[in-house]
């Protein structure tokens, strides 16, 4: 294998690859990046056995072949080369070392045999559909904050993606929950997704995919089976195992009869929550919402620091139901309102029942928050 690439191009691809590389080094080859030239195309691959990321890189290939080299070292070397440098990598089939040259600099890196590099990309993925990057970003951004980090409930450690139906419209739904709150976001069902099984995409995969979407604006191609999912965004293909588990019947926790409706301006509400919550440094600090006709008082207290409260009135608050008091963790309120623009709509039942939160002008996302109890 032999090719020449521009430093900047190579560096960017190695940076993408870096985050997937296994950092604990339990299996040495997982710390390596696979460099492969086939049919005149260079591609870089990294995997941690759960996720594999392959990037096609613009380069001038001169000889087919493949090998694996330490990803972190290669990245560091390329990073330190002068800007604009042309980097030549050369590995003779079966050789123990990969040689790298750039101008007068030369190094050789110990390689591991490409045959030992795990292949996660094999196998068929029968369900295929495309989703605009913007839509995929929306599904991820509005759900991933609710993903559970609790290892014992591994089946909640991801986003549940599945085909569903809302008001007669077929939708592609993303759902995440940590057992205290739930986020459900949907998009119109893309062609090809109708027969897909419900799959749980692991948190790390979600975050890696989200990074790829940072600089990508086209249509992301998604392919999946019962056990694996693949995202293709331009030159980068990410393949991941899925969480092997059963997502709970989440519809059960979405209340249907909540009839006490509060509408409040997002900006006013989230700023007031932040100010009131500043009284306490606890992680699970509660903010109490006290509601009366067209008036909302937010309050919080801390045994050490004192109390804080702020009143929002008819200028920004609409509430016609009977008076209500309810407490939520400040960060739960923040996480949800961050995803909302314009007006926030709360639907309450009472102070100890699940509460629905949504964007007043957009029904594609629905959040359920469990309150705190005194």
């Amino acid at each position: 294998m032999k090719f020449t690439a521009e430093r900047a191009t190579l560096l960017k691809a190695l940076a993408h690859i870096q985050s997937v590389v296994e950092k604990r080094h339990t299996i040495p080859i997982l710390a390596n990046v696979m460099l492969s030239v086939r049919d005149g195309q260079l591609s870089l691959t990294a995997t941690d056995m759960e996720i594999a990321i392959v990037e096609e890189v613009a380069a001038m290939p001169t000889r087919n072949g493949a090998t694996t080299a330490p990803a972190a070292t290669l990245y560091e070397i390329v990073r330190k080369l002068p800007e604009g440098a042309q980097v030549e990598l050369d590995h003779a089939g079966g050789a123990a070392q990969l040689s790298l040259r750039a101008g007068r600099f030369a190094t050789s890196l110990v390689v591991l045999p490409v045959e030992d590099f795990p292949n996660l990309t094999a196998g068929t993925l029968p369900h295929r559909f495309a989703l605009p990057a913007r839509a995929l970003r929306g599904l991820i951004d509005r759900t991933r904050f609710a993903i559970s980090t609790e290892e014992t409930r591994y089946y909640l450690n991801g986003i549940y993606l599945h085909a569903a139906e809302t008001a007669g419209q077929r939708t592609l739904r993303a759902v995440a929950t940590d057992g205290h709150r739930l986020a459900r976001v949907e998009e119109a069902l893309p062609d090809g997704a109708g027969g897909m099984p419900g799959v749980i995409i692991p948190r790390k995969t979600v975050n890696e995919v989200r990074k790829l979407l940072e600089e990508f604006t086209g249509d992301a191609e998604i392919a999946l089976s019962d056990t694996r999912i693949q995202f293709r965004a331009g030159p980068i293909t990410l393949t991941s195992k899925l969480i092997d588990g059963t997502f709970p019947e989440y519809e059960r926790v979405i209340p249907l009869g909540n009839d006490k409706v509060l509408r409040v301006g997002k900006k006013e509400f989230s700023e007031a929550v932040a100010r009131v919550a500043a009284i306490s440094q606890e992680r699970a600090r509660p903010v109490k919402l006290s509601l009366e006709r067209d008036a909302l008082v937010l309050s919080a207290s801390s045994p050490e620091q004192g109390t804080a409260s702020e009143e929002l009135d008819g200028g920004t608050v609409t509430y016609q139901a009977s008076p209500l008091e309810i407490g939520f963790q400040a960060r739960f309120l923040n996480d949800v309102t961050e995803q909302i623009e314009g007006d926030v709509e709360f639907c309450f039942a009472d102070g100890s029942a699940p509460t629905i939160v949504r964007n007043a002008g957009d029904t594609s996302a629905l959040y359920v928050l469990m309150p705190m109890r005194v």
Binding site: E150, I254, P255, A284, R373
Partner: protein, 368 residues
């Protein structure tokens, strides 16, 4: 506690203990259960008796007993699933009765509390008179019976409430205290478990009087940190205050082995009752904690602890066991014999200073 000497400095403590609380609530609410041996708790293979009615106790059924054993001992035993919400509501009612007499209330669980009535809100002339009123009020307002012990410290008040159980009242006056303890077998002392009792007996200590004859140094040599407590209570003394509104920080249990443990294979069975007791205490108290800690004490009294915290409270006894055993596995084989193992659940929801507890979404239940 009717003495009225002018220079009186003794405290006046009442220990109230509901009689067979969970079982009595069930018998109250379902007349068909009255007169029958009733066990509150899981009926399934791994279930544990949370409470037993007095009818069941006659068959030797007691709380924390595996349901399988209980059924074997009393085939006609009626199992009733626990209704903790109801028990908590009744417990609040009882607490309201206490609060009429004193703000100094230390609940030990849903069905048991210490009250300090040295300076009561409602003075009835004596602690005994207050205890009589409280028992009558509990009976009138909840339809349940409670036993009360009255004395000048917590140790004796608890012994007293046990003395005339059920539906009884007993007073241990300062004059009676040392004598009452003298004749008491050591295994009846709160804080003396079966293994400690056996070790005391091996040292010729059978009663409170035998215990009182030992020096502090001797007790320290044989019982370590617990020596001071034994030294005091053998004299009927106990200075621990009634801690009002004490927020429960942890729930746990431990067991000392008659023979030191060395093999991992023995751990599961040895810890079974500890897990059962810890979990039963969580359920009784309505505690949900996120952190599991295990304690290993070696033959040389040195000890280590290992703990793990989750995002969510431990949800079941199975989960508690799994985490507990996971934590212990790397500690085996141990460098020395293991004389004691303990399990604690802490980081209890609601024990945060703000007193709020995060509620959970119930995926197992349909929302209306």
């Amino acid at each position: 506690m009717t003495g009225s000497g002018p220079a009186r400095t003794e405290r006046r403590i009442i220990h109230i203990d509901m009689d067979a609380f969970f079982a009595a609530v069930e018998q109250r609410d379902d007349p068909r259960l009255r007169g029958l041996p009733v066990a509150v708790g899981g009926n399934r293979e791994r279930g544990v008796v949370a409470a037993a009615s007095y009818e069941a106790r006659r068959f030797g059924i007691h709380s924390a007993m595996p349901s399988v054993t209980a059924r074997r001992q009393c085939p006609e035993l009626v199992f009733v699933p626990p209704r903790f919400d109801i028990y908590k509501a009744v417990s609040r009612q009882i607490h309201e009765v206490f609060a009429r007499y004193t703000p100094l209330i230390q609940p030990l669980s849903l069905d048991e509390a210490y009250l300090d009535v040295t300076n009561p809100r409602l003075d009835r002339g004596s602690a005994t008179a207050i205890a009589i009123e409280i028992r009558a009020a509990i009976r009138a307002e909840t339809g349940l019976t409670a036993s009360a012990g009255v004395s000048y410290n917590k140790f004796l008040a608890k012994l007293a409430s046990d003395h005339r159980k059920p539906d009884g009242l007993f007073v241990i006056t300062p004059k009676m205290g040392p004598g009452f303890v003298e004749t008491l077998p050591v295994q009846r002392f709160h804080g003396v478990g079966p293994v400690t009792a056996a070790r005391m007996q091996a040292l010729g200590i059978h009663t409170g009087l035998d215990l009182r004859r030992q020096t502090r140094a001797f007790l320290a040599e044989h019982f370590g940190k617990a020596a001071d407590y034994y030294y005091d209570v053998a004299r009927g003394e106990d200075a621990r205050p009634v801690e009002a509104d004490r927020v429960r920080k942890s729930v746990g249990a431990e067991t000392t082995f008659a023979r030191d443990l060395a093999r991992w294979e023995e751990v599961g069975a040895a810890l079974e009752p500890v897990f059962a007791k810890t979990w039963a205490a969580c359920e009784r108290g309505g505690y949900a904690g996120r952190t599991v800690t295990v304690k290993v004490k070696y033959a040389d009294f040195r000890q280590i602890t290992r703990s793990r915290s989750g995002q969510e409270p431990v949800a079941s006894r199975q989960e508690l066991e799994r985490i507990g055993l996971d934590l212990l596995r790397p500690c085996f084989p141990p460098p020395r014999g293991v004389r004691l193992l303990g399990v604690t659940i802490s980081n209890i929801a609601g024990s945060e200073p703000h007193g709020w507890a995060q509620m959970a979404l119930r995926f197992d239940r349909l929302n209306a």
